[in-house]
């Protein structure tokens, strides 16, 4: 469960960039919440604040009731982060990449290896487990990065543009896996600027534009609210311009 309340963040001094200006929303457990917005809408900054990597200027964010500024370490144990850049270590094998993060989360020995085996099996990554990350395809790297984000069995998963650079088949695998996680009662927060992704995956959509929440709701709700025929028209109506939204 993620609760974000009037969160603000700006970068720089005099000519500050207001990345996030007063965002409020909630992402409940057992649902996939999508952050949809054009490039530069503040999605990454928002996710980084929830992931305790960036401190908010004002407002608050809580993960499972724990504040991200006062309970940093607690929050970090409860979240899994899949950043835009997969950031695997190219010289380590898929398994070693995941094992490293498992150790940082306090997991050890056989229990950790068994956990990695299970994750790789569900993700269909068992054949590549002993291959170096440098030799993996984009889709395979994504699988390893997901396994790494899930190694400590976090209740909350933050995914920043997880489908970037993936082929259709890999996107499909990802989608299925995220649905499974939702079925397990996890809280999933997913950011994307690709409309179709969000529409196909998310139960609830938070539309961001220029650092503000423009609309929140399910797909039919958004369409109805904008009085448009489909989601794309609805979004363009809500955001004010089609700029930055990939078709």
């Amino acid at each position: 469960m993620i609760e974000v309340d009037a969160l603000r963040k700006s970068y720089g001094g005099r000519q500050a960039v207001h990345a996030v200006r007063g965002v409020t929303f909630a992402a409940p457990d057992g649902e996939i919440t999508g952050l949809l917005g054009p490039n530069g809408a503040g999605k990454t900054t928002l996710l980084r604040m929830i992931a305790t990597l960036v401190a908010p200027d004002a407002g608050s964010a809580r993960v499972d009731g724990i504040d991200v500024t006062t309970g940093r370490q607690q929050v970090r144990r409860r979240i899994g982060v899949l950043s835009d850049a997969r950031g695997l270590y190219p010289r380590l094998t898929a398994r070693e990449n995941v094992r490293y993060f498992g150790r940082l989360h306090g997991l050890r020995g056989d229990a950790l290896d068994a956990r990695i085996d299970r994750l790789f099996a569900t993700l269909g990554a068992t054949p590549i487990a002993e291959r170096r990350a440098a030799a993996l395809s984009q889709g395979e790297r994504m699988k390893v990065a997901i396994a790494r984000a899930l190694v400590h069995d976090p209740q909350t998963l933050l995914l920043d543009e997880p489908t970037n650079g993936l082929d259709i088949l890999s996107v499909r695998t990802l989608r299925e896996h995220l649905h499974t996680l939702r079925g397990e009662g996890k809280c999933l927060l997913f950011s994307s600027h690709v409309l179709q992704e969000v529409a196909a995956l998310c139960d609830r959509i938070v539309v961001l534009a220029q650092g503000r929440v423009v609309a929140v709701g399910t797909q039919p709700e958004l369409v109805a609210r904008a009085g448009a025929g489909n989601l794309e028209d609805a979004l363009i109506a809500l955001i004010g311009s089609p700029e930055g939204l990939a078709a």
Binding site: R76, A85, Y89, L92, Y100, L104
Partner: protein, 418 residues
């Protein structure tokens, strides 16, 4: 947390404390630091190309350098032993020529373009006898002989010295004979008797070799950790693996200490291999016998490692700091060349100053180590107090550098390109 099958795996003690703890109040975790150290070492060992190049050049530095130097010394000694002296105008002073021949000097007629020959390095030294030599002597005037050489040529120096010494000896013998004819003892003309007593111990005579061994020891402690330190900081940032890492419970101080220990380990390995190269070459290689009873044995090897220990901890910390300030590996490499320049320049400056070293030198990293290395190489005992003093500044700087890197990792700007 979801209960059920996943709760079976073991968590680190205290990982699930319910009270939200501020990250700055809890102690760093040794197990996370160790996990980071382990991963960095594994990653370094996997980087075959960098690893092989670093290790091979470390091992080969000693043998190659020593071989070159010993051959240089040997060839100089040879040149001094059998001096070849081309003479212009040998017919004007046959007595001088005969004197040189008696001293086992290979005398020959100089080619017409002897000056060009000296400039090219084909000839070391040429003796020119003035055509009015015999006439001047007969009139009681000093006879003119001229030695032509190029002193900037190191190789020629022994030959030049030898030719000068022989001419001086001839001059003196001739003078003594003239005095003897007049019934005067030679002490009238030469009241001084100069005797030289060289107090250099056998180890001290190979000064150039000493300098190079010390220099390479220092150099290895910079080069050894460089690739790893930059890869683990600037490289990690460039590959964008830093963001997921920072989102784990691993805290900046744990990350920095883990990485630092990994770099130190590799640095120590490279230093040890470099010194081992020198040790093995001097102990077993068939080096030309040049009369440099130079000593770098097991004891010196151990002392070297002890002296370099503060640097093996300090330089990795500084390299990590330099690396953490760069956005990419290449940028870091450019910045690190400044550090390399300073470290390699200090011993050279010290070599040329040749003054008695002031006491505060022990507080200057690199300088202190260079001075202690020289002490060890001269076969003198290392003073424990000096060694402990040489730790002061490095220890302080290690803490400052590591705190600075940890603070950089804690900053938000590390995630962006700024």
């Amino acid at each position: 947390m979801k209960a059920g099958s996943e709760t079976t795996f073991r968590h680190r003690a205290g990982a699930h404390r319910t009270r939200a703890g501020n990250s700055s109040l809890t102690l760093p975790s040794a197990s996370r630091t160790f996990a980071i150290l382990r991963k960095e070492l594994l990653e370094t060992l996997r980087d075959r190309r960098t690893g092989v190049v670093t290790l091979v050049s470390a091992i080969l530095a000693g043998p190659i350098l020593l071989l070159l130097i010993f051959n240089l010394i040997a060839s100089q000694a040879e040149r001094a032993r059998d001096l070849a002296l081309p003479i212009v105008g040998a017919e004007y002073a046959p007595a001088i020529v005969a004197f040189f021949e008696r001293a086992q000097v290979r005398v020959s007629a100089a080619p017409a373009d002897y000056e060009a020959g000296i400039r090219r390095g084909d000839l070391d030294v040429v003796l020119v006898i003035d055509e009015r030599f015999a006439a001047d002597i007969a009139q009681g005037k000093p006879g003119l002989v001229r030695l032509v050489f190029d002193r900037s040529r190191d190789r020629a120096r022994p030959a030049i010295d030898q030719a000068e010494a022989l001419l001086r000896a001839y001059n003196r013998t001739w003078g003594e004979q003239r005095l003897a004819l007049r019934g005067v003892t030679s002490t009238v003309a030469y009241p001084l008797r100069v005797e030289s007593a060289d107090l250099a111990t056998p180890q001290q005579s190979g000064a150039l070799v000493l300098f190079l061994v010390a220099y390479y020891g220092l150099f290895a402690s910079v080069m050894g950790g460089m690739a790893v330190a930059l890869d683990t900081t600037a490289g990690e940032r460039e590959r964008q693996s830093l963001e997921p890492l920072l989102a784990t419970p691993a805290r900046p101080v744990e990350i920095v200490v883990g990485k630092w220990l990994a770099v130190c380990a590799f640095d120590a390995l490279v230093v040890a291999l470099t010194l081992a190269g020198f040790y093995l070459t001097l102990a077993y290689a068939p080096l030309p016998a040049v009369g440099v009873p130079f000593l770098f044995g097991g004891r010196e090897f151990g002392r070297f490692l002890l002296v370099l220990l503060p640097l093996m901890l300090l330089l990795p910390a500084i390299l990590l700091y330099v690396g953490s300030r760069a956005r990419a590996y290449k940028e870091a490499q450019a910045n690190v060349s400044v550090l390399l320049f300073v470290v390699s320049l200090i011993p050279v400056v010290q070599l040329f100053l040749q003054r008695r070293e002031p006491g505060w030198l022990m507080f200057v990293p690199v300088s202190a180590q260079y001075s202690l290395l020289n002490t060890a190489l001269r076969g003198e005992a290392l003073a424990l107090s000096q060694w402990l003093l040489s730790w002061t500044t490095p220890a302080l700087l290690v803490v400052i550098a590591l705190v600075a890197v940890a603070r950089r990792l804690g900053r938000e700007s590390i995630l962006s390109g700024r």
